[in-house]
Amino acid sequence: MVSTISAIVYMLLPYLGGVVLYDRMAVGELAAFVWMPMLLALCDRANTGRIGTLSAISVAFALLLMSNILQPFYCSGAASIRSCLRTARRFLGSLCSHLRNLSGGCSPVACFHLSGVIYSNCYHRTSLLGRIRPQFVVCEFKRIALLRVAIAVIVTYCACVPREYNEVPSNAGKSNLFRRHGIRIYPGSFSPTAHCLVPQIDLLVNPAFVEILVRRAGDHVNRSNVSSCASDVVKPSSPKLLGRVGGEHKQQLLHGRF
């Protein structure tokens, strides 16, 4: 039940469902969101030493590389930290679990936001590539508040308490309402997924997100409104065919100017 709800929440969260799918139409990054939780879950099982698990990690990482360029950097950092701290836990004991959760929560937040901050301060101001603007500007990184980053880290930390350190459910108290109704909550039951959610948690409290979704309710793509494959375009004779094409583009199509 918890896994099903967390999976649906994972799909509903604004960065995946809103920004990647609806706003940016980043088909590669969308595929990366399939491999990232899988890779982190497999990394957790890697210490079993099974050949199948290790092979599956290789396949998942290869598919991640084939799906997107940026996400493997972000994901490999999180996966490495998780794996290293998992290995070191026998030496550090329970301290290690706290370190792992904290680093697991902080590092993706840092990676995700630092890229935006670097862009805002260096890339954008110096007009490095002239008029070209990376898509993540829509996330309004300039409005990053320390409070939002702190909320993201705290939420991730709470969600990432690994199951093995929580043999007793978090609501084990006698007077707990959930306990009385036989409902048990294991906070770490979706920890690999939670690591992938960190950047999205921040967007939950980002007022620009709603604006993006409302503003970008655009038309559907038709190959005839793509100028770069103009050699394949059949000049539409009926205005009905151009019903969904914008004004300027419509004029270009009608007059054959590409």
């Binding site: 099903t4 940016r24 595929a31 559907h220 793509v226 494959c229 103009a230």
Partner: protein
């Protein structure tokens, strides 16, 4: 022992199958717009439709990893797949014989819409597993 194993498997099936169906249904609802009319013209959609049109055409002509899109940019060509990730376009190209959409202008857009649904459902299932 075998009876117990079969009971365990049956127990897992009864819990997992409804969950998987629920996740796929949620993905279908969220991607309904993509499944019906193709990808919306936001972000990089126009570029991806162009790439997909050329990629599928070369793929099904025998060029199984088209790094150079010969017909793109009004026939001048494009080297985009020397640097661009190919996975989404491979999957979408492979969907063509299964989906069999009519060869109209919106075909690639609709194929990419189905791809988005599959990946979205896959993301949910990966998070579930």
């Amino acid at each position: 022992m075998e009876k117990r194993d079969s009971e365990i498997i049956r127990g897992r099936m009864t819990t997992r199958v409804p969950a998987v169906l629920l996740i796929i249904a949620a993905a279908a609802v969220l991607c309904l717009r993509f499944l019906i009319a193709g990808v919306p013209a936001n972000g990089d959609a126009l570029d991806h439709v162009t790439y997909q049109y050329n990629f599928s055409r070369q793929f099904w002509s025998g060029d199984h990893y088209p790094r150079w899109l010969a017909e793109a940019n009004k026939g001048y060509g494009s080297p985009i797949f020397l640097v661009q990730y190919p996975f989404p376009h491979f999957v979408t190209a492979l969907l063509r014989p299964i989906l069999s959409f009519a060869p109209i202008d919106a075909r690639e857009s609709r194929e990419l819409g189905v791809y988005c649904f599959l990946m979205f459902a896959g993301a949910g299932l990966a998070a579930y597993s």
